[in-house]
Subunit: 134 residues, 2 copies
């Protein structure tokens, strides 16, 4: 079911500072910061040869990463996202296997314009896991 690793998301308290570290110190190809108010984050993409890392800074009062940064004020690894061919089939299989899908259980359109869902980290050995339809 899991195909490519789509991205690894790192929460950071200051996205411009983090972008500068990846661009200037680590020598990576780094996008401009993009505000996604409907997702409650500002995002920067670190483009690697085979996948990407997403830097996420909270945006707005109800950001989904605010609690994580309150607990990890310096930032840290927030979630991992895998691609699947069919998000509804994946969801049905995983729910039948006893996994919990966050939210109302239905895939929603994610930050890349494709259907996504998040699995409860307690069902994936502590790692917040996103699935995205290719």
């Amino acid at each position: 079911m899991l195909l490519r690793l789509n991205h690894v998301a790192l929460a950071v308290p200051d996205i411009e500072a983090a972008a500068a570290t990846y661009r200037e110190t680590l020598g990576a190809s780094v996008s401009q910061a993009e505000a996604l108010p409907e997702h409650g984050v500002t995002v920067v993409f670190v483009e690697l040869e085979n996948t990407k890392v997403e830097l996420l800074e909270p945006l707005g009062d109800t950001s989904p990463i605010a609690a994580f940064l309150a607990k990890n004020p310096k930032g840290g690894m927030h979630h991992i996202c895998y691609e699947v061919a069919d998000i509804v089939a994946a969801r049905d299989h995983l729910v039948a296997s006893g996994m919990r899908v966050l939210g109302n259980g239905e895939p929603r359109i994610g930050a890349h314009g494709k259907p996504v869902l998040f699995l409860h980290p307690g069902d994936v050995h502590g790692t917040l896991t996103e699935l995205q339809q290719v």
Copy 2:
């Protein structure tokens, strides 16, 4: 400097249970567990189309992931590893930029038989970051 994402490492308290989740529930290609006593971990590789995820369980009394699991008993995202062309040149550049290399500052041979180093997470916005020479 950063080339491919080599792996994402997830610490887990029970590697056989985690391997079963990735193999049977998430439908991934998963290796047999391999004990690496010189690195203080048992490792399972989850092979994706473009990279791999490593599941790590502590091995022995001085495992480098024991403290992480004591703080995150259900497991969680432990570190991210990028490939670089020349680990010594990378180290020299990063140290000159003010980053701290863990341990004695010298690259050592990692779990894949290649030279690696770890950057202090406090210098990489909270994420423990490994570099591996290709």
